[in-house]
Every structure is written in structure tokens, then in C-alpha cells.
């Protein structure tokens, strides 16, 4: 066994292998930085080359890519408030406020250091665990997965911004949105309204971009400043960030452990691991007052977890041939392509390949983190650019990322619709993270409950791991109930904080309740097994909204609104973004982005036409190059496909 470890090390250090690892890391960093692009897009870029490579080089390239995705996705999360991938949504919560306080470098380097340590711990766990993991992974059946899902949902408590009724209603709304598409048991369509686009469910990328990125863009535009509202305070350089991470080594260790475990259990999906790490970081912190306003721990926890996840996710990928995350799902296909068949024999016959993978993963993590820290001083300067100039690029990136989801018009329409709704949520003090958690866990919640009952009746409650998880959930709910995270607060933005009036709040609450009712009506005539979930969740949403209204009415008036929640300025900025759709329908996607950017930079950015055209051309050039590399056909002038 030891000589296999070292022979793998020999291959690892060969120039050939290192070179290909670097290629993978390079592609991974580019793909990771761009929101909406993940492992799938990265592999699509690499596939033409992987087809011709020898297995060891192909392996190096793929692992290099996989390892750094979760590192590089932090850039947009921190710098722009745009989730770089499903794994770094929670990073936005504190990372972006830090950037707005001028501390982007500190936040980024803390995140990269945490990513590095998390990634190394993930690789370590993989090497120690891979030989004995089989029975442990097999202990997690439907009941255990169900309880893990419930544990994930219990994070809603701490992420509700102190208003847990609205948090629960938002979570229920997320669960209903996650319900869109065919019911798992009978195939009846739910909440699709005969739209083909919705018939395979709402893509996570579209929801995440709409939920977090668009409202932030609209909000920032009305402030007419750079993202960083003040110059970087002293002592907030990259070294401070690394020191922050080392100082919170306990948090790093625990978050990495959460990442490994969630990654190693196939069936939960990696998209919720950052929220669980973030939630537990809040629950266990003594001073919670800064969370949501720019607490460095809020960056460290999810980043350590999402890199460790990839190591953990390789466990089921290699020994069962079952991927533990989106990235490993693609890797699995790639492995088969180069003649490596993951499965039980992998850890007996091909253990040298396993160690090669582990070493590559560790090395790629180190290189990736080093590169990211290296380019941080340069990249973080985007926060100093006047926002009205930066905005067209960000809007272009968001629309491009959303369009990556299924490459349909529906993606563009959905991201705008969700963005509009999310902006209302943001302004009315409704927490958005619970909605996302509900969405991510909706499938598991329904399916695992159904399977648990089908397979075990009510006995599933008595299984040992289930009981442990119930206890953990109870603890989580207890701590969650005691903590308040101002998830909707913006650092340095107190002056624009608004207290929405009673009438708009009532209208919004009633609207959410109406969606709950809609879900019930929609599922009215389908078989009970497919009806149960929308009925229960829809009912719960109505109940939470009702209670919330009751509380609003009983509580003394919150005082007159200091300032209306919405202004014409916001509407104008939103109209800009929405205008992209008809423009795309007429001119096609890239020309539309170009014209939009020129117009926006002229009118909102007050630039001269030459500068505006140059910037617009640069934006389009980047998108075109990406589109070319990914063989994307952008929407052409004619509406070639309507959902």
C-alpha cells in the first residue's frame, strides 16, 4: 500500500501530469469565477481535449478543474454579491458586506485560505476514509437522508433575520418552487401551467441569480457609488485575511468536517452544504451581532465546507460509481470516457489511481488557492469602480450565467421575474436564504419521506442514526430560535434602511399566501400521493402568512415609514434590465447586450460615446469568446423558442 502511495506521488510530480493539472486549474478558475458556470461547463470546455489525452493526463486535467471550482467561485460572491456557484451562496451573506466596507481583500484571502485548508482536509479525509467508507455510506438510507434534509431545513431558524414567521413562509415558498415539474411518484405536472420550460423544474442557477444578484444590482445602482463605499481601512490586506482564517481554526475544522460528511453521503447534493456550515457557524458563535453585516467567520465557514465537500464527494464517486456533487457527476462521466471504471474494485485493484486522484486534488487545491490569493489585489479593484460603469458588465454576466442553465428563453424570463420578486422581498424585510434552502431541499424532503414510509412504515424513526439526527436538529432549532442574523442588512447602508408601511407588507404577505393556495388548487385533482406535499406545504405557507399578518396587526405601529420602500429610481433601473428581453428578441442576445451597454453607459454612466462603445465591445467580446468556447448559440433576433 505504501509503495502505491509513493508510485502515485511519482506520477504526480512528472512534468506531464503537473502541466495538465495546471491546465485544469486554469480552466477551473475561469469557469469558477463566472457565475452560472460550474463543473458541467468546465468539463464541456475540456471534453474535446480529454478525448485525445492519455488517461493520466486527462485525469489530472479533470481533477485540477474540479478542485478549484469551489475556490474561484468566491470572487463574484464577495466582490459583487453574485453567487459564483451553488456552493458559495452563503458566502455572499457576509462576504459582500465586507467588500462594501472596503475589506474585499481581507474577505477574499480569508476565503481562499479557508478553501485551501478545507480542500486539503477533504483530500485527507478521502485518503483515510476511502478504504473503510463502504459500510458507513451504506448506513445512510432514505430515513437518514430525510433527517439530514430536515436538519438542513432547521437552518431556516437562524437565517430568518429575526422574523421566523416570514422565514418559515419563505422556506415554504422555496419548497413549493422546488416542487415545480413532474411529481416523483406519478409523473403528474405540478405548478408548471403547461409551460414546457417549467416541466423539468426551475434551474437552481436561475433561482440563485435572480434571488441574490439582480436585487443587489438594482439596489447598488440607486446609490451611485462604487461597491466599496469607503477606502480600504488599514490592516485589511490579504495577510489579515489569512490570519483571520488561522485564528478561527476550530471553525475551519468543523466546517470542513460538515463539508466532507455531506459530500460523502450521496443523495443530499452539495448545494446546501455552505448554508449548513454558515448556519452552524452562527449558532455556535458567542457574538452573533456582526453576522449578515460583515463577519469574517461568515466567509470562512462556507468556503472551508464547500472545498472539503469535493473530497468527500469523491468517496461515493470512486467506490460506488455514484457522484456526491454536481462536479463529481461530470467527473464520473469523464472517468468512464478515459477507461477508468469507478466501483468497488477501484479501492482494491486500482488503488494507485485513487491515490493519484487524492494527491492531484490536494496539489490542485494549493495551486488554486495560491493563484486566487495572487490575483486578489488586482481583481478586488473592481469594487472601486463607479457602479454605474460596472453594472452593464454585471448584468451581462448574470444574464449569460442564467442562460447557461438550459439555454432557453425561459431562463432569461425566469431570472428577471425572480429578480423582481426578490427585490420586493429584500425591501420588505423578507429573508431570502430560507427560500433558497427550501428550494434545494424540496425534492429530498418529499422523496425521502415517501421512501422511508414505503420501506419501513413508522419504524424508520427508531433507526439509530435517525435518532442522532433528530437530536441534532432539536439542538439546531434551539440555538436557531435564540439567534438573530440580520440577513437583509447591508453594511454601511443604514441610511437607506426603510421601514415598509403596513399596507405594502399586508399585500406581500397575502400574495405569498395566495401562492400557497395556488399550489393547493393546482394539485387538487391529481392522485393523493403526488398531492400530499403541495397540500401540506401550501397549507403551511398560508398558516405562516396568516400568523405573520396577525402579529403585524397586533404589534404597535412601526412608526411612519422613514422613506418609501420603493422609488421610481428602482423602477427605472429595473426597467433597464427588463428592457434587455425585448431588445434581445429584436436584435439577438449579443447585439442586445452591446446596445444596452452603450445606452446604459451613456445615460446612467454619463460616459462619452467612445468610452461607452469601447466598454460595451469588451463586454460582448468576453461573452462571445465564452459562448464560442462553450458552443452556445445565443438567442437570435427571432423568437426561436418560447417556453
Amino acid at each position: 500500500m505504501l509503495d502505491q502511495v509513493f508510485s502515485a506521488l511519482g506520477v504526480l510530480m512528472s512534468t506531464e501530469h503537473l502541466l495538465h493539472l495546471l491546465i485544469g486549474v486554469g480552466v477551473g478558475i475561469i469557469v469558477g469565477i463566472l457565475p452560472g458556470l460550474g463543473g458541467t461547463a468546465g468539463m464541456a470546455l475540456l471534453l474535446p481535449f480529454v478525448f485525445g489525452m492519455d488517461p493520466s493526463s486527462a485525469l489530472a486535467t479533470m481533477i485540477g478543474l474540479l478542485a478549484v471550482l469551489a475556490t474561484a467561485d468566491t470572487f463574484t460572491s464577495v466582490l459583487m454579491g453574485i453567487p459564483g456557484s451553488a456552493g458559495s451562496q452563503a458566502t455572499v451573506m457576509d462576504g459582500f458586506p465586507l467588500a462594501r466596507a472596503g475589506r474585499a481583500r481581507q474577505a477574499l484571502s480569508a476565503a481562499f485560505a479557508a478553501s485551501l485548508i478545507g480542500g486539503l482536509l477533504g483530500a485527507l479525509a478521502l485518503s483515510g476514509f476511502v478504504q473503510i467508507a463502504r459500510p458507513l455510506v451504506l448506513m445512510f438510507g432514505a430515513p437518514e437522508l430525510l433527517m439530514l434534509t430536515v436538519f438542513g431545513l432547521s437552518m431556516v431558524g437562524v437565517l430568518s433575520g429575526g422574523n421566523w414567521l416570514r422565514g418559515l413562509a419563505a422556506c415554504g415558498l422555496g419548497l413549493l418552487l422546488g416542487n415545480i415539474g413532474p411529481a416523483p411518484a406519478t409523473g403528474h405536472m405540478r405548478l408548471t401551467f403547461d409551460s414546457i420550460y417549467l416541466s423539468s423544474g426551475l434551474p437552481l442557477v436561475v433561482l440563485a441569480l435572480g434571488l441574490f444578484a439582480l436585487p443587489e444590482i438594482v439596489d447598488l445602482l440607486s446609490r451611485r457609488s462604487a461597491i466599496a463605499e469607503r477606502a480600504a481601512p488599514l490592516g485589511t490586506g490579504w495577510l489579515t485575511g489569512v490570519r483571520d482564517t488561522l485564528r478561527h481554526w476550530g471553525l475551519v475544522l468543523r466546517s470542513a468536517m460538515i463539508g466532507c460528511i455531506v459530500g460523502a453521503i450521496p443523495g443530499l447534493g452539495g448545494a446546501v452544504v455552505d448554508w449548513i456550515a454558515y448556519g452552524t457557524a452562527v449558532q455556535s458563535a458567542r457574538d452573533k451581532s456582526r453576522f449578515g453585516k460583515g463577519d469574517i467567520r461568515g466567509v470562512i465557514a462556507p468556503e472551508a465546507a464547500n472545498n472539503a465537500k469535493e473530497g468527500g464527494a469523491l468517496v461515493p464517486t470512486l467506490i460506488f460509481g455514484i457522484p456526491g456533487s454536481g462536479g463529481t457527476a461530470v467527473l464520473l462521466g469523464g472517468l468512464v470516457l478515459i477507461g477508468i471504471q469507478p466501483g468497488p474494485r477501484m479501492v482494491t485493484q486500482d488503488i494507485d489511481i485513487v491515490y493519484l486522484i487524492i494527491w492531484s486534488l490536494a496539489l490542485a487545491n494549493v495551486i488554486g488557492a495560491a493563484v486566487c490569493i495572487g490575483i486578489t489585489p488586482l481583481v478586488s479593484r473592481v469594487t472601486e469602480i463607479r457602479y454605474a460603469i460596472l453594472a452593464p458588465a454585471m448584468i451581462g454576466i448574470v444574464m449569460f450565467g442564467a442562460f447557461q442553465a438550459t439555454r432557453n428563453w425561459g431562463d432569461l424570463i425566469a431570472v428577471l421575474a425572480i429578480g423582481a420578486a426578490a427585490f420586493v422581498f429584500k425591501r420588505m424585510g423578507w429573508p431570502r436564504p430560507p427560500l433558497l434552502i427550501g428550494f434545494v431541499l424540496a425534492g429530498g424532503a418529499e422523496v425521502y419521506l415517501y421512501q422511508s414510509v414505503q420501506l419501513y412504515g413508522m419504524d424508520w424513526l427508531g433507526r439509530p442514526i435517525v435518532m442522532i439526527l433528530i437530536a441534532l436538529t432539536a439542538v439546531s432549532v434551539f440555538f436557531g430560535a435564540r439567534s438573530k442574523v440580520s440577513t437583509e442588512a447591508d453594511a454601511g447602508a443604514e441610511e437607506t434602511a426603510t421601514i415598509p408601511g403596513r399596507v405594502p407588507q399586508t399585500i406581500l404577505t397575502a400574495t405569498v399566501a395566495a401562492i400557497g393556495l395556488l399550489a393547493i388548487v393546482d394539485a387538487w385533482s391529481i392522485p393523493w400521493i403526488s398531492r400530499l406535499f403541495p397540500f401540506v406545504i401550501g397549507g403551511a405557507v398560508i398558516a405562516f402568512c396568516g400568523l405573520s399578518l396577525l402579529v403585524d396587526w397586533i404589534r404597535p405601529a412601526p412608526g411612519t415609514p422613514s422613506k418609501p420602500a420603493f422609488s421610481l429610481i428602482n423602477l427605472r433601473h429595473f426597467a433597464w434590465i427588463a428592457g434587455l428581453l425585448p431588445l434581445t428578441a429584436v436584435a439577438g442576445f449579443l447585439p442586445a447586450i452591446f446596445l444596452f451597454s452603450v445606452a446604459f453607459l451613456l445615460i446612467e454612466g454619463r460616459l462619452r460615446i467612445l468610452a461607452a462603445s469601447a466598454i460595451a465591445l469588451a463586454i460582448v467580446a468576453v461573452l462571445w469568446t465564452l459562448g464560442y468556447a462553450l458552443t452556445i448559440r445565443f438567442p437570435t433576433g427571432l423568437l426561436d423558442f418560447m417556453p
Binding site: G39, A41, M43, A44, L47, P48, L138, G141, A142, P182, P184, A185, T186, G187, H188, M189, I196, Y197, S199, S200, P266, G267, F320, G321, V330, G333, V336, L337, G339, Q341, P342, G343, P344, R345, T406, R407, Y450, Q451, Q454, I526, P527, I529, G588, L590, P591, F594, L595, V598, I609, L610, S613, A616, V620, W624, T631, I632, R633, T636, D640, F641
Partner: protein, 369 residues
């Protein structure tokens, strides 16, 4: 005066901007058509996202087309996932010209949705022209502790509760449920599986005791369980020869195919509606699980050009070697043979379709959308 000049300059720059926009429109526009493929870009529509089986299969044929088509065209893959493969299929149906410049790489999911008459389907698969096809094998197996020692011992399963993990009654599992029912096994469906690998994991955990896996997955993950006695194969779904007859799977020459087991249990070979339903759905899901097709009215000379290219590829040992590495031990259906497979896959009569729909509703409360 200066104001006037400024306006003039600005409008000139505006014109320049518009020219750039127009140029960009040209970049994204469709390439010109011609009978020769030299310098052309052929597009393969993959109605699934990157990284899945259909995507890999489509990409496998990129270098094949580039090498063997006259003029060595550029071939690109365009992924359009969603809607149970119907979004990509519909896009193809609505946009592909009969000029050989756009192909559809379809797979079992899209074939089934077409066969079942899913309302999302806007493509007439029956009328398309298929030029290449790949089979996939599948082995049905049960848990070792049920007492059956092999295919000849299927009677030992009588009375046992057999739990089968399914992605849904209208997925490819339809064929499993249907085939099992015809040999007297009423498997209890456990729905909500994310895919075949989920079901296999649940089988390994002991939650399920009947399952099928496709060839690669069976060899890598189930064979060890068979060796340790934890799993027992009961039949393969079989393969089709070039004439479209069901035969033993070359990857599992010792395991009888479904037709044999059916005859063993029922005392007579499959016939009538059972045969029609099995052969059609089997071909759509296994026998020709992947198909590369062109639009219905593609002129004969273009179809012939493609067919010649595919047959040339088939005769090339280099292709055969790559094929064995990536697609497994099965012969590919190239040229006219692929078209024959597509005809079998779409041969099910309206009466048999109606019978399947009724059976789905009765047994699973399920509906075809």
C-alpha cells in the same frame, strides 16, 4: 457651431456602434447551406445537459462525422436540456432544415416520451431518418436471500415482496414493470429514485431486492455482488441483431434474455400485443437507446452521403477500437441498420399505446402528460 459638430460626430459614432451590432448579428447567424460539407459547420443537438450519457454519446460521433463525411466539416454539439428531452427535440423539429446541417442525438428518455404521446412532444420521431444507433444492455437481478439461484429458478420468487426502485412509471422503468408483470412478478415500486445508480445503492443497502443495471454498471458494481452471492441475475433485456431480432446479450452470453425467460414461464414465446409492446419499448430504451437522426424530408443524396460515411467508419478498425473503449461490447447500428432500429422502436400500434396508457393508469395511477 461646436454643438452642431458634436452632434454630427456623435451620430457618426452611433452609426459605427450600430454597424458593430449588425456585424455581431451576422456572427451569430446561421451558416450558408451547400451540398458539399467542406467548410461547413454541422450541429448535433443533444437534448440533455453536458456530461450525461447522451452528451458523451453525441460527442463520440463528433470526430466520426468530421473524419468520414466528405469535405471534413466542423461538427459541434449544442446541448439543450430540459422538459424530459423534449425541449431539444422540439427545437430540432422546428429548426432543422432537410439539408444535413443539423442532427439530433436522441436517447431512451425522449423516445419514451414520444411513444407515450407526451403532450410536450412536438416532433414526429417516426418520420425522421436515423443514420447511427447504439444499443445498451441491461441485466435484471434480485437479492441473493430470496432463494432463487438463477434464471431457471424464477418460480422461487413467487410470493416474495419484490421492491423495485424507480424514477417514475413513465420513465424507462415502464418496461421493467411491464416485462416483470408478464412473467408473474408484481414488483412493488419505490418511486423517487434519482437514477439507476440510486436504485443500485438502495439495493446494496438492502432496501430494495430487485433492480436492473446497464452493462457497464452491472459489470463494475453488481458482478462483485453476484460473486459473493448477494445478487442473482434473472434475465437480460437482450440485444437486436441487424435484422431486428431479439438475441442474447454478447456481454452476458450465459444469461438468458427476456424472450427466453418469458417462454420458460408462460410455455410459449411472446406474441401479439405483449410482443409488440416489449419490442417497441425495448428498442426505444435499450436496443437502439441512442439514435442520431436527420429531419424527415432530407433528400436521398444527403442521406446516402451520411450512410456511406457511417459505413466507412464501421469498416475502419480505428473506429471499432474507439467504439469498444467508449461504448462497450456492442456493435453500432450504422447507416440503414440504424433506420431499421428506429422503425422498430416506433412500430407500436395506436391500440397497443392505448393499452399501455390504460395499464399505467390502472396499476400506478400514473398519467402521461
Amino acid at each position: 457651431m461646436t454643438g452642431m459638430l458634436k452632434t454630427l460626430r456623435t451620430s457618426a459614432q452611433w452609426t459605427a456602434s450600430l454597424a458593430v451590432a449588425a456585424a455581431l448579428t451576422a456572427v451569430t447567424a446561421l451558416p450558408a447551406r451547400a451540398a458539399d460539407f467542406a467548410g461547413q459547420t454541422i450541429e448535433i443537438i443533444v437534448p440533455a445537459s453536458e456530461g450525461g450519457g447522451t452528451d458523451f454519446w453525441g460527442r463520440f460521433y463528433v470526430p466520426v462525422l468530421q473524419t468520414y463525411l466528405p469535405g471534413n466539416p466542423t461538427v459541434v454539439v449544442r446541448n439543450m436540456g430540459g422538459g424530459g428531452h423534449t425541449i431539444g427535440g422540439n427545437f430540432f423539429a422546428n429548426n432543422a432544415e432537410p439539408d444535413g446541417m443539423m442532427l439530433l442525438a436522441s436517447s431512451g428518455t425522449g423516445h419514451f416520451n414520444y411513444l407515450l404521446g407526451d403532450s410536450r412532444v412536438q416532433y414526429e420521431f417516426k418520420d425522421m431518418v436515423s443514420i447511427a444507433g447504439s444499443p445498451v444492455g441491461g441485466v435484471m437481478y434480485v437479492a441473493g436471500d430470496l432463494g432463487a439461484s438463477g434464471p431457471e429458478d424464477i418460480a422461487a420468487l413467487e410470493g416474495a415482496t419484490l421492491r423495485y426502485g424507480s424514477q417514475g412509471p413513465t420513465s424507462q422503468d415502464l418496461l421493467s414493470f411491464y416485462a416483470l408483470e408478464q412473467i408473474g412478478i408484481m414488483a412493488q415500486p419505490i418511486f423517487g429514485m434519482g437514477g439507476r445508480s440510486d436504485a443500485r445503492l438502495a439495493f446494496e443497502r438492502g432496501d430494495l431486492n430487485i433492480d436492473y443495471q446497464s452493462t457497464f454498471s452491472y459489470l463494475d458494481n453488481v458482478q462483485p455482488m453476484v460473486e459473493s452471492g448477494d445478487a442473482v441475475p434473472i434475465f437480460t433485456f437482450g440485444v437486436l441483431n441487424d435484422d431486428g431480432e431479439l438475441g442474447r446479450d454478447p456481454a452476458f452470453p450465459d444469461i438468458p434474455h427476456y424472450g427466453e425467460v418469458y417462454e420458460q414461464v408462460n410455455g410459449e414465446p411472446m406474441s401479439g400485443q405483449v410482443e409488440e409492446v416489449y419490442m417497441s419499448f425495448f428498442t426505444a430504451g435499450f436496443g437502439a437507446q441512442k439514435l442520431l437522426s436527420m429531419p424527415a424530408s432530407t433528400p436521398a443524396d444527403i442521406v446516402d452521403t451520411y450512410n456511406e460515411a457511417m459505413l466507412a467508419a464501421k469498416a475502419d478498425p480505428a473506429f471499432q477500437e474507439r467504439r469498444a473503449e467508449v461504448l462497450g461490447p456492442y456493435p453500432q447500428f450504422m447507416g440503414p441498420a440504424a433506420e431499421r432500429m428506429k422503425q422498430i422502436a416506433t412500430s407500436v400500434s395506436p391500440e397497443a399505446k392505448a393499452a399501455v396508457a390504460e395499464w399505467l393508469a390502472e396499476r400506478f395511477d400514473a398519467t402521461v402528460n
